[in-house]
Amino acid sequence: MSNLPHIVRQRLAAPSSGNAGADHPDADLLNAFAERRLAAPERERVLAHLGTCAHCREIVALATPEEAATQAVFTPGRSWWSIRSYQYGAIAAALALVAAGLVLLRPANERSFVSNNVAKVEQPPAMPKPSTPSADTDAYSAAEPAKQREAEQKNEARGFAPLKKDESRTQVGGVGGGRAFGGAIVVQQPTAQPPKELDKLADNYGFQAGNLKARPQEKSENLNRADTRRDQETAQVGSADLMTLPLASKAAPPPPVPAANAAPAVAHSGAPTGGTPPTRSAGMKDLSTAETVEVTSAGTAEAQSNVATGALLAETPAKRRARALSTAAAKDEQAKQNALANDANYNARTVLWRISSGRLQQFDASRNAYDDVAVSGTSRLSIVGSLGTEVWVGGTDGTLYYSNDQGAHWIPVRTGAWSKDATFVGLTPTALRSVEVHLSNGERWRSADGGASWSKYQ
């Protein structure tokens, strides 16, 4: 640093005529200056005083908050590599090259595995159509017939069973997550998601399936098992569709399996009514031991577009689907096994819930039908989530109800935490007495004490 001539130091230290007799700024002004809350003219005045007053400079230096250091502005020039899109682009390009190389180097007979596998795929049992198809389903089918047909054709070409419109949008109650789509609930087909989304979904799936996430070691084993199998069991495609929900009762006759039963424990309102709720059949083959692949549904049009997105990556869509589905299946199975190990009455006490026309409905396995459940007088309900005997129901006016006895009694969760105008759009019971909710205003809250206290999270 350059030296300053002594005369400059001397003159700088001498009080200037303008400020020699001036009053010092009060603590308020000095503090506002240190916190950078002064408007430009006032800041200029304070700076002018500070330039000539060592006393006030010292006070400001002592009073400047430590955290101000973290607010220091630094805008270094951006290198081209700092632009994320380039980074991702480079990675994607590298992966695409590797994938292309692998495909070209493979023998011809292996390259045509998809068409070979088609022959191994068994068609799923015919699904009975709901006796009273919902308005939502009809609306959907009327709105997108061409898209639907196109998707079915594509699925057939891939060796999938044709997608039945009623099946593909059957709302389910159980474990997992549903997604509103055009007024109806579309249970996402995990089979055609890009890997990351699939893994996430699988995580979600395993997590929500009775909230009994596999222990790390078991999870790892399941994943390894699935990985080693996946090349051989390409026919596992669509197997996640068989991952359905815990039975209402083991003694109940196995109901038919709907096509799009990705098995969420959360059900939204506005979903089609009627039809048999998806459950895991006692007689159904376990995913982890299935020798014959049963394809019960194909991807939706949306799923097809996701496949196209995922094509950039190295894995072929079929392999990717198989890997993710086997992971999800393993997690689901592990969760169930854990639940059974921990609670002998797990199956008996697990029931299915759904929201229909703003009302909560519970599945009656003996009659193979849903019954209304009274929760509150006037609230229109929007979402339900269950875990074991605990059920959480959210409404459209910020209301939330909690039951720890399979809906026999309901406790209104009264809190001023969120707006009364907000609607519950997401609800995930995460553990005993614990739930995470997502509101229409974007807020997310969680409670770990049955709704007594809530904390906001991102």
């Binding site: 640093m1 350059s2 030296n3 300053l4 001539p5 002594h6 005369i7 400059v8 130091r9 001397q10 003159r11 700088l12 230290a13 200037s16 009060d26 603590a27 308020d28 002004l29 000095l30 503090n31 506002a32 240190a34 916190e35 950078r36 809350r37 002064l38 408007a39 006032e42 200029e44 700076l47 002018a48 500070l50 330039g51 000539t52 060592a54 006393h55 400079r57 010292e58 006070i59 400001v60 230096a61 002592l62 009073a63 400047t64 908050p65 430590e66 101000a68 250091a69 607010q71 220091a72 502005v73 630094f74």
Partner: protein
């Protein structure tokens, strides 16, 4: 006073009602009228026009202002809240200022007394919290008050330190008499320097003074001004060059040539850390021409220094 001000300064009623509700002033025993008087008083003190007032009204920290004024009014709930929130922070701030636990406690306790108000004026307890205006955070204001008190105490104590103590601390005093540097008339240089300094902006002068006079670190100055350290580093260099150029320019305006101006600036005797009297006295007629320039002066001084050394 508050009523008068309330009449003279217009305050957006909707905004005020909202801010009053947010401030929880009612919880601290402040009525809307009292709070209005406080706010308008602050506007009167700091703002000269309606635009500034509007900006001020929107930027004030109403909640902390209400708390401080509630405390000043002796509201028990306000004091409870104040102590809960700021007791620990006050000691922490004092500790960061004094860097010593004992001094920090002493400083903070002293400020506590002033905040509570021990002085009675016209039968009314006067408290320092009446001076908080909500322009910055209450925590920052407390820290500034502590800093003010600490600087005042330090300066006061510094004046009282005995010469013996200073000697023990290693301070050396200039001896009177012969070794005093020759006082040369630097009037022209001083005028040119003042003119060059006057051309600096407030911020530039602040940076220059903070760095060269106070010896503050670049990082500390940067922290105060909210910029990066490297920015201050560049500015210090630039300002020093700017001042030097300015001085030269003003010296030249005063009739000096460029070279004379440079020599005048460079040969400031206070920059030369040796006694110049001897070489000046010893400078014979043959050296007179040398002594005109700064280079000659330094050469003469060096020569005198060499000659003064004991010969082997």
């Amino acid at each position: 006073m508050g009523v008068t001000l309330a009449k003279t300064i217009s305050l957006d009623e909707k905004l005020f009602a909202q801010k009053y509700a947010e401030s929880h002033g009612a919880d601290y025993g402040l009525s809307a009228a009292q709070f209005r008087a406080i706010v308008t008083g602050i506007a009167e003190k700091y703002c000269s026009d309606a635009k500034e007032r509007d900006a001020l009204f929107r930027s004030l920290r109403y909640e902390e202002l209400a708390l401080a004024r509630g405390c000043a009014a002796g509201n028990e709930r306000a004091w409870t809240e104040f102590l809960n929130r700021y007791r620990g922070k006050l000691y922490e701030s004092a500790r960061s200022i004094t860097r010593d636990d004992g001094s920090a406690r002493e400083l903070a306790d002293g400020i506590y007394a002033e905040l509570y108000g021990t002085e009675l004026r016209d039968g009314v307890r006067r408290t320092k919290l009446e001076h908080y205006s909500g322009r910055g955070s209450l925590e920052g204001w407390l820290r500034t008050v502590l800093a003010q008190e600490w600087v005042n105490r330090y300066r006061k104590v510094k004046r009282e330190v005995s010469i013996e103590e200073q000697e023990e601390a290693g301070v050396q005093f200039a001896a009177n008499g012969e070794s005093t540097p020759v006082q040369i008339d630097h009037a022209q240089l001083a005028v040119a320097t003042d003119a060059a300094l006057a051309e600096l902006s407030s911020e530039e002068r602040y940076i220059l003074a903070s760095y060269h006079l106070d010896g503050r670190k670049l990082a500390d100055i940067a922290k105060t001004l909210g910029v990066h350290e490297s920015t201050i580093s560049r500015k210090v260099e630039k300002i020093a060059g700017q001042v030097r150029t300015g001085i030269l320019k003003h010296l030249q305006k005063g009739g000096m040539s460029r070279r004379q101006a440079e020599e005048a600036l460079e040969t400031d005797v206070r920059d030369v850390q040796i006694d110049v009297r001897t070489p000046l006295a010893q400078a014979g007629p043959e050296n007179l021409s040398d002594t005109i320039s700064g280079r000659g002066l330094q050469a003469g001084a060096a020569r005198a220094f060499r000659e003064s050394e004991p010969k082997q």
